[in-house]
Symmetry: C2
Subunit: 345 residues, 2 copies
């Protein structure tokens, strides 16, 4: 099966996307893969499979590779001999900005390129943690209470310590702090404001049980991964999470009963249906007193959460052959015609 891995992006998670792409390349070695890199200037490059190593990008060697232009139907490669169109289905593996905020989905949809990944509305509701809360409230999925702080607006904190402070729109624990003393709050807020003008504050639940579940829809049916109880220190800092994006070893199932597994799956499905079709996502849940709370939606999980699937290549194949189409409305000029006629023109 042919598939183009699209990675990079102008984002704080740029290098994480590079690591993710290298990992997915290994996991999908039975595929006929090609690699398109989006650099920090929003230029696209075709990367030779043999050059898919982190240093290719950190040393800017990609700039010597063929540049591509995004156009109707695919990525166009021009050369002296003519031009080649790369129009395979794309796996959007750009984490964070560009990839998860709806930009890349809009570009691919506009240029009529099939892709695995969240569509633009799904991005809005998962990229910004405030909007994930809006979604949860609207569809009846429970989540942790929260308060929003904005850079320009003076707001008083109502939650009591300890709390967790997060930039509204970043994953991978970037800019996140746990605060135990009120005196530390301002510093944590400033840290988070470095990455976003809106910051989410939630109660930090000491020793909370956390479970991760990935899944996707194919052939009209939900397909779930195993449930993992992630190994964690208090929470994953960026460096640990970074290592996490290169994970490729199958993990062991969380030791939980079927009732809880079903609860997690049912919450996952509520979030997914009608919103995330076309994407393989990972939902991170908390369980407090037997109650399932959605913590976070990862619409493009690190290394596509390959380690949670028993047969990852088969999952990607199933998803790739079951993608929603962007429906382009047919343009008509009926009213202009009828008005022109009425005017006798």
């Amino acid at each position: 099966m042919k598939l183009t891995i699209l990675f990079g992006g102008a984002s704080f998670e740029h290098e994480i996307s590079v690591v993710s792409a290298i990992t997915v390349k290994e996991k999908l070695d039975s595929f006929d893969l090609s690699f398109v890199f989006c650099d920090g200037d929003h230029k696209f490059y075709l990367i030779d499979a043999g050059k898919m190593k982190a240093t290719t990008f950190s040393k800017q060697l990609h700039k010597k590779m063929p540049e591509l232009t995004l156009t109707n139907g695919g990525f166009l490669q021009k050369s002296f001999l003519g031009s080649t169109m790369h129009s395979d289905t794309v796996l959007n593996l750009i984490h964070g900005g560009d990839g998860e905020d709806g930009t890349i989905s809009s570009l691919l949809d506009f240029y009529d390129i099939k892709f695995i990944g969240p569509r633009k509305e799904a991005c809005t509701f998962s990229y910004d943690k405030r909007y994930t809360k809006y979604l949860c409230d609207a569809i009846g999925v429970k989540s942790v209470p929260y308060e929003v702080f904005s850079k320009d607006v003076e707001t008083n904190l109502s939650l009591s310590m300890p709390i967790i402070v997060k930039p509204a729109s970043l994953g991978s624990s970037i800019g996140v702090s746990i605060v135990r003393e009120e005196s530390e709050f301002d510093y944590a807020l400033d840290t988070a404001f470095e990455f976003d003008s809106s910051v989410l504050v939630e109660p930090f639940i000491e020793g909370v049980k956390e479970y991760n579940l990935a899944g996707y829809m194919a052939g009209g049916k939900m397909h779930f991964s195993i449930v993992e109880e992630p190994q964690k220190e208090e929470f994953l800092d960026f460096e640990k999470k970074y290592m996490d994006f290169s994970r490729s070893e199958q993990v062991s199932r969380a030791e939980i009963g079927e009732v809880l597994i079903q609860k997690l799956k049912s919450n996952f499905e509520k979030v997914y249906r009608g919103m995330f079709e076309g994407a393989l996502i990972r939902c991170d849940f908390f369980v407090v007193d037997g109650e399932v709370l959605l913590n976070e939606i990862n619409p493009i999980p690190g290394s596509m959460a390959n380690y949670l699937f028993e047969d990852f290549p088969e999952s990607i194949k199933a998803l790739a052959t079951s993608l929603p189409n962007a429906s382009k409305a047919k343009v008509s000029y009926d009213y202009i015609h009828s008005i022109s006629q009425a005017k006798g023109k």
Copy 2:
């Protein structure tokens, strides 16, 4: 002032956008305008100002005009003599799909082109009427109660007659019906499903007072238009609304007191702030028993609601010089460097 009017789009509202662009051209005749047309195949053309008439497009004459390529910094026009870059600030005047659903905003942001219009998140929350409800609930703006119907899911109607049935994601009254008898409901639902797989049903409030207010933020401050009480039959059908998109005569103020005007403005501002910066939008409100309800957000109102502003060109100028920038995150390779070093490579 230089400005590029971008119009057309692959949408049911394509021809409405053409009419809108022609009207705005007249209203901004003191500007140095250029015109970029997006056709139903997502190709861009540079349209000569003298050819800005409806028949240019309905007769497909635009295909003889220079084709443009969207690229970093602007629209690129190639010719035998070399290439010209059109990089003026864009006024996004594509109504409906493409323009109001976040696609065009994503494209312009990605390619670093300044534009007047809603950003992608703002599009998600205004293009789909369901998500407008999510937003209202989250920010404490009242709206009409609603039920959602999906193409594939059997749902029972709880609301009592009369009701209004709307495709979730279209403006301009396309596919909208008022239903007074339960026997008519299925037909109205099918009509709406022709345009969207999700349909919103709301109580139809007989003789409700309706008020329209437009506004934008410039220099950190909100600027409002006058309040209009739109002339209406029961509701505007597509043909009447179509005429509405060519409106250019200043309307008269609604005869309402300062208290209600302030209530409308305060609800408008709640919706706008932190979401619609960069756009001039029109909010349509209902007033029921003195209570203000948001009916609809028009993130790119027909002919930019020019008729509601006392000095429309000045408003556009103020907005154009106060646009938010898409902030591209700076890419770093710190972790890859540190890992490479740790490995001794």
